[in-house]
Amino acid sequence: MAKNSKVIKREEVVIRFSGDSGDGMQLTGTLFSDTAALFGNDLSTFPDYPAEIRAPQGTVGGVSGFQIHLGHSEINTPGDYADVLVAMNPAAIKANAIWVKPGGTIIFDKDNFTEKNIERAGYISDPIAEEKLENYNIIPAPISSMVREALKDFGLDPKSVLRTKNMFALGMVYWLFDRKLKYTEQYFDKKFANKPEIAEANKVALRKGYYYAETIEALNPVIIIEPAQIDPGIYRNICGNTATAWGFLAAAEKAGLKTFIGSYPITPATGILEEMALRKDLGVKSFQAEDEIAGICTALGASFAGYLAVTSTSGPGLALKSEAIGLAVMAELPVVIVDVQRGGPSTGLPTKTEQADLLQALYGRNGESPVVVIAASTPSNCFHYAFTAAKIAIEHMTPVILLTDGYLANGTEPWKIPEMKDLPEIKPPYAEKNDIPFLPYKRDCERLVRAWAVPGTPGLEHRIGGLEKTMKGTVSYIPENHEQMVRIRADKVARIADEIPDLAVWGESSGDLLLTGWGGSQGYLMTAANELREEGYKVSLVCFNFINPLPKNVREVFSKFTKIAVAELNLGQFADYLRIKYPEFDYHKINKVQGMPFTIKEIKENCIKILEDE
């Protein structure tokens, strides 16, 4: 650490890197968070891409951001407001000004605040003044000219030189938080092993930024965030989409199955298909289908043929898969449908997050068509819930819809790597070889699961399909048979409640308010509930991952609280679902439909209002 600097310790801090799409902000953020993770901080990150197509340079539409929340104690969200904003151009100020904490630090590349850029961002003259940020800790750094100067003897073309601006900025931030440059330097050595001059240029820019920060003394005091108390183990950073893909692969290995994914690309779900496509080393067959319908249909075919079959998509794709999910319900084949929710309806806000596909997942099919619905709630626990979704699908011969969302999909956090031997077993309910003649819809009495007879097995030839059938597999129009089958299919899914864990209450098991949520809002709800408790409110939290069926102890948990609030990123879908399932309780709705997560503040204010009403 630099000598003549003040030092303060902080529990946590939020940093946001922001610039034009071409400014390399995603890499900058990733390098910072890797460094922080290696140092032992807990953290959570979220990239904020611009809409799909590159907007013109320098405009607000083209701003790309990356936010990191790191701390000495547990970190559950990427943070609402930033302590430090790095802004590579005026548009980055425009896009982020309201997201900086009052009095926070704003580092920007003053060389880039040209008249043209200022105007492009929608300002008239001085962005800082126009945003009334004068009282913030404003650090105008001549980043462009500094790197130009520093690299003038490298013989690089001007474009390549300017591409190191982000490392200069990163160096400044490293100094501010007293971080080592080593990990980042190693990254460039490895990445540009074949282009040592590029590696060197980036390293020089990084160091120049670090020294510049030390020199100007404006970035005082240096902020120290001690390592967090973290479970011993081996860790990695992981985002929700990768965790989802890996969860399936782990389930397949545990079940002794091969994996098939049939998907059509769609933001923000594509990462799952892309990760699976990479996993040819593990024998994954990834099928990029002609559309979402072919995605699930190829998966159903693979499932029929004895694979762990998956299809991944987002809301509009789930809509297209509706009919085929109904077929999976009838065929009683295992298949997992991942819906990475985004802003709707229709194409909506494709790069933004939302939780508004819940009712579609539960009810979006013709006829009485029950499926299991599960939601992951942190980027890393996508692994666990993908694994669990696959386990349930296979062991219960049923389609399972796994809900994640854009926030989980792209967000990353450190994750303690599990050992495969510690994961639960998965036992496919294979038909017995001597189960002849094979009756496809004969069930075990306890769980009502039919047996899986995989094509290729001699003697078990049979036919399944979407028409109503008898136990034997014969098409049947008999009224009573239909009613019985409808009820059995519903019951089969309902009985899965026997195998899912009880709902856990965070906080006291009784109190004035039970804050309730599901899926990707979990981190925000936890932080809000913690803060409310610290402020003396009798608030506890439950967060649902199992949605259909619901855990068995819901009624018991709910009955211990005076009020129940349901917070979700839609107009109240889960609250409505709870009304159906537990009509005896009253549910206060906390909703937001803005394509982005809650802020802690919003949740807290709503909770307090509910507590104080009447």
């Binding site: 319908i293 190829t298 075919g301 693979a302 043929a305 094509p455 290729g456 399909g465």
Partner: protein
Amino acid sequence: MNNMEENRTLNYTPKDFKSDQEVRWCPGCGDHAVLSAVQKALSELGIPKEKFAFISGIGCSSRFPYYMDTYGFHSIHGRAAAIASGVKTANPELSVWNITGDGDALAIGGNHFIHAVRRNIDIKIILFNNEIYGLTKGQYSPTSEKGLVTKTSPFGTVEEPFSVGEMVIGAKGKFFARTYDSNVALSTQIFSEAAKHKGTSVVEVLQNCVIFNDGIHDVVTGREVRDDRTIVLKDGQPMLFGKNNDKGLVLEGLKLKVVRLGENGVTEKDILVHDSHEPNPGIQYMLANMRYPDYPVALGIIRSVEGHTYEADVEEQIEKIQKKAKIRCMDDLLKSGSTWKVE
């Protein structure tokens, strides 16, 4: 095929492929004969019964799998080609058959059909073309002749129909054959060749729907006229047809032309010789497209070209990558890339 199975003697008769379900097609429906032909072809292929999977969509024809004592999946309308693609990709050892109708394959299922064909995935698509929606009781289909009066075209359709062969070749198809329902011998032989072909095999069956489109193919395949109005193509053989085998096809400029042996000095040597294996689809395209009354309708295997198949390429890619892969199990994957240890 594993060893145990290889030791089994596979002396099947068509009866071995009959399921215990009562066949429910209308008496007189062309589907009955196709069922017989498929059962006959399968019994002669030397493939163990459990290796067959029949996947169908929805339609009269799509009830087919129920009548086969094989693995079967009667799915949803139009999607069977996609499901079959999944089955075959997952397990390339299976002999996968997609049974479909003109509506199922070319109306709602058109996209999966052309994509399966493009990928050249090794599934056998048997397309029952009765030029009508049978199951829903008689609406026109994408193969119905322009002008056809049906329940949804009470004043005649205004749409030009697809030609199945043209569509297949347009979608990069490598195997296309045509037969008609009542010619069980020809059908059997074609199904057998289709089964042996590596890649997507599309067989169009001109099929009669006695109830809603009765006799639509009779003008070509009727007992009295068929010799003169169809030509059965055989590889290496001159394209001769007619009751007396005295008519033939020649090329005139870029078009096919019907000639008569002996007339204008035409001899057998002038007649085109069929080559289903020619990769350039030029002539095959024209053959597939021949329509009565200008031409005889081509039957037999019109195009049959070798090519990479999707599922084999996938297997090969996996094998190649696995050979040099560092990640061999989930524990490897989980620990790959940057990780750190907290103690």
